[in-house]
């Protein structure tokens, strides 16, 4: 730009205006092109979301019926439903959350309250961040080695534990972030009243950070409800009715995997229904989580 202004100074007054004009036009044009491209990129991103949801609605809704929720999965051609898959998903998601949340909460507390400046704290934070994005199929392989091989078979327990491993780093991240937002004055007030540190954390900080922590838990539930890969080698899926955690257990994502790839039209239809249920469930949880967080942000 300095080069351009020197040119302007070097030339006569009649040319100055023209050059400045041309330069400004070029810069404005460039700006408009980039802005247009960015709008286009955003439109593409949104289009994918709309396209996926529209496909699910288009192909899923027509398969919805009461039978889907009251009948278990059956062989092709015999009007099966998804009852056992829905129930299996609910059980394993609930158990995974119940196992993973307290651990994640404690780790987050450790990082925010006890780890200041320590090497151990840095290491835990680093490892937790890596686990947050680690391939979930490897967590399935790990739990397979840990729980399936030694205990003689696939089980709902193994599936729940695999999901819990995914929950932990999500809860750790939000818990630490939220606890760090608590004002020092609040802790000082608790200490001034003679409360021991653990009491000030549990009764003051947790309460103040409640919404944020709840958001983390909701996001974790949403994430594991749709996980397929870690369940393939742990709870395996089960086409029969079973709520026994010691046995293979059905789940919606694994059922989708089995049905969508099958050559039977009614199974594929049920897979779309399952996909519709799981996606809108997961998206609803995400929106809910963001509403919960909103007053704080």
């Amino acid at each position: 730009m300095t080069g351009a202004s020197q040119t302007i100074h070097a030339s006569g007054p009649a040319r100055d205006g023209k050059i400045a004009d041309r330069l400004a036009r070029k810069r404005r044009f460039q700006n408009h092109v980039v802005q247009g491209l960015c709008l286009f990129a955003t439109a593409i991103g949104l289009a994918f979301l709309v396209l996926i949801l529209a496909t699910l609605l288009h192909l899923g809704v027509k398969g919805l019926s009461l039978g889907v929720f009251t009948t278990v999965t059956k062989p092709p051609g015999s009007n099966g439903g998804l009852l056992n898959a829905i129930l299996g998903s609910l059980i394993q998601t609930a158990l995974g959350t119940a196992i993973g949340t307290p651990i994640g909460l404690l780790v987050g507390t450790y990082l925010a309250e006890y780890s200041a400046g320590s090497k151990l704290g840095d290491a835990v934070r680093f490892v937790s961040d890596v686990l947050l994005s680690a391939p979930s199929i490897l967590i399935g392989l790990f739990v397979y080695t840990l729980l399936v091989t030694p205990f003689g078979g696939f089980s709902g327990w193994a599936g729940s534990v695999a999901l819990a491993v995914i929950v932990i780093p999500i809860v750790v991240r939000t818990t630490e972030d939220m606890l760090r937002l608590i004002p020092v004055a609040m802790r000082e007030a608790a200490v001034a009243l003679g409360a021991p540190k653990w009491k000030s954390i549990v009764f003051i900080c947790y309460r103040a950070a409640r919404d944020g922590i709840a958001t983390g838990v909701l996001l974790a539930i949403a994430r594991i409800a749709g996980e397929t890969a870690p369940l393939l080698f742990t709870s395996l899926g089960n086409l029969n009715w079973s709520v026994d955690l010691g046995k293979p257990m059905a789940s919606l994502p694994v059922t989708i995997y089995q049905y969508a790839g099958s050559p039977f039209d009614d199974w594929v239809q049920l897979a779309w229904v399952a996909a519709l249920l799981i996606t809108f469930g997961v998206l609803a949880l995400n929106v809910l989580a963001r509403i919960v967080l909103r007053p704080r942000s």
Binding site: A41, I52, L56, E113, K199, A229
Partner: protein, 315 residues
């Protein structure tokens, strides 16, 4: 803090000790967890490493009948799909982040931001199913025949676009992966773009810069380390993605020159072959060994990503 903690025999000091021990123990548990994942995959894969040695890394065969297993094809598939996915996702993610931070009207920022985040929340199996039933037919009928006709005979690069239009294959897998990682990269970029001090941008605007010039001359240089971190995060996600890829990649253990050719990735191979592997078999060990390598690759990429994001945040 230390002043309040020191007075001797305060009430609740036992509670404090227990609570601190619990929290620290949970922290250590996370370390143990990561260690256990690595060790279990390594031990599980040891028979394969022992049997084939370096050949496991250089062999292109995956033959359960002859009991010969090599990892070149899935590793190639994993890397090539992830890089292609990045090539497609990064410009779009950048556009979204730029639009959200600098161009969008205020009332649109939040809803559009949430919509993009929702794209990340859609389970990967849904992407797989959608890709298989919606994208694959479009690819097979329109996109691939067109591109093959157009570029298949082009000198030099033609081989990249040859072969029958299956619809499935490396390119389709990369496309789906790209869509899946857009929100991760876009969200990171948006967050780091917002960390640029307004004074810097205002000064540039004051000099008469256009929005794009501010972006190029102020925001990008200021955030480039974190932006790289965000891209690496997307790469880390893409490397280990399983279900979506399994549906659309064609699942063939062969390296084809064409980007429309079928292939496989480490994760898709594990997902497909694992259920057919007997406990204690050499095939299972080979899958574990593959899992170990995937973990090492993802670990390195994610570690670099984190390092870049931390460094970027500090400066």
């Amino acid at each position: 803090m230390s002043q309040t903690a020191n007075p001797p025999r305060r009430r609740g000091s036992i509670g404090d000790m227990i609570f601190q021990a619990l929290a620290t123990g949970a922290g250590i548990l996370v370390l143990v967890l990561l260690g256990a994942i690595i060790v279990s995959l390594l031990i599980g894969g040891l028979p394969a490493f022992r049997q084939f040695g370096v050949g496991f890394l250089t062999g292109a065969d995956w033959d359960p009948v002859k009991q010969v297993f090599g990892s070149v094809v899935p590793i190639y598939g994993t890397i090539i799909t992830s890089i292609l996915a990045l090539v497609m996702a990064v410009p779009i993610a950048f556009g979204i982040a730029f639009w959200l931070t600098e161009l969008a009207p205020n009332w649109l920022q939040r809803p559009v931001g949430i919509a993009v985040e929702l794209l990340a929340a859609v389970p990967s199996i849904i992407y797989g199913m959608w890709g298989f039933f919606v994208i694959v037919p479009v690819m097979a009928e329109y996109v691939q025949p067109f591109v093959i006709d157009l570029l298949g005979d082009a000198p030099g690069i033609g081989f990249l676009f040859q072969g029958p239009p299956f619809g499935t294959g490396i390119f389709t897998a990369a496309l789906i992966l790209g869509v899946m990682i857009i929100p991760f990269i876009a969200a990171t970029m948006r967050d780091v773009f917002q960390t640029v001090p307004p004074v810097f941008k205002e000064s540039a605007y004051g000099l008469g810069c256009t929005t794009w010039e501010v972006m190029r001359a102020i925001v990008i240089p200021y955030t480039r380390i974190s932006v790289m971190g965000g891209i690496m995060l997307g790469l880390g996600r893409a490397l280990g993605e399983t279900m979506a890829v399994t549906f659309v990649i064609g699942n063939t253990n062969r390296i084809s020159g064409s980007i429309f050719g079928p292939g496989n990735t480490i994760a898709s191979l594990i997902a497909l072959e694992f259920p057919e592997s007997e406990a204690g078999s050499l095939k299972l060990a080979s899958l574990m060994a593959l899992g170990f390598m995937l973990f090492v690759i993802s670990f390195i990429v994610l570690a670099i990503s984190r390092m870049l994001l931390r460094t970027g945040a500090r400066t």
